[in-house]
Symmetry: C2
Subunit: 213 residues, 2 copies
């Protein structure tokens, strides 16, 4: 069964998925790297380089790419505010982005697809969440579809109960400001099986698996 899911989405203990003051130089605003240090400390992140631990942070992180055939992301993940005014903007990941699959960017500012190295092609959709999933499912060739964020896009798909499985890393810091993940999701747990697993790194891995999956 092809799942619509996400992995490795980090929030602060006070529920911010990204900090305030995002810009081209600061993708996560004043949060900096603090939401993702647990991930940088995994063997998965180090890949061929030595270093990184192989514990619970690592096994969660490794689900990121496993059997994923397409990604849906919000306009705010594809670029800092105003990217659509730059016709040369091709995302923040260099010539060979880490997606290696079709990526569907939800935006009111559509443009022609952009083919990158390594199997990533950016497509631009101005459509509803449910229709975006249908489009991505056709491109995913029977594999899973990942929703890449940011927080407000994940919130929209969660609110519509369209997400099959979610992995959220709760990082024990208080950002105080930024983009909240949890707003407007009262009662979400009634439609999901929820588990929490704390890690020696300090992070708690929370998973939501939709009832019926």
């Amino acid at each position: 069964m092809s799942l619509f899911r996400f992995q490795n989405f980090a929030v602060s203990l006070d529920g911010f998925g990204t900090g305030a003051g995002q810009s081209a130089e600061a993708h996560f605003g004043h949060a900096g790297d603090r939401l993702h240090e647990w991930m940088f400390g995994t063997r998965w992140w180090h890949r061929a380089e030595p270093g990184g631990s192989g514990g619970v942070d690592d096994v969660f992180a490794r689900q990121f790419g496993a059997a994923v055939g397409a990604e849906i992301m919000g306009a705010g993940k594809f670029g800092h505010p105003g990217w659509h005014e730059d016709p040369q903007w091709k995302g923040a990941w260099g010539p060979n982005p880490p997606f290696h699959a079709p990526v569907f960017v939800l935006t009111h500012h559509t443009r022609s697809p952009i083919e990158m190295e390594g199997g990533t092609t950016f497509h631009f959709l101005d459509t509803s969440p449910a229709e975006a999933i249908e489009t991505a499912r056709k491109a995913a060739d029977g594999k899973d579809i990942r929703i890449g964020g940011g927080p407000s896009v994940i919130r929209d798909f969660f609110a519509a109960r369209l997400i099959d499985h979610a992995h959220i890393a709760v990082v024990p810091i208080l950002l105080g400001r930024g983009v909240p993940l949890w707003d407007g999701l009262e009662g979400l747990e009634n439609d999901y099986r929820v588990q929490s697993t704390s890690s020696p790194s300090g992070v708690t891995h929370v998973t939501f698996t939709r009832n019926g999956i």
Copy 2:
């Protein structure tokens, strides 16, 4: 060393320490019992009655009364809004409240002390957080002082960095509305050592221990 601390304070995953719509009949508003089911499932809660488990939830819960000589609580914990207009109001815990120590209620509506059974006496203070701690410390006779809540009172003492040790149980439900715990506490982790421990009950126990303690 006498610590100013709290235990067994529960928040939802989205950071609410109590639900919306609090009243005399619903102390936690629309949250009902959901924030505390993990605690009701402990051997500590069952006391002399059979039942309850003895795992990580239980050992955290048992720190509630250990070596505590006084409690400070907010007016919103002592009674539902408007309790000060009822001269007969003596709290919501019956004739023998579970504190068994002097309790200092922070309120603009002070009244004479109320002596209850079992060692609990309610005192009423209209003072600053730091002064309240000094008053409670004299009454605690060298033991710890517990801050009982609610969420906005805990937030005030946290913001002033007056809390020495805190135990917060993060419950994997999304209340969506209520009284938030975390607002305005950006960077709290810089002054505390933070640990997280998930439990088979689904709760994650987060502790804050102040640097220098």
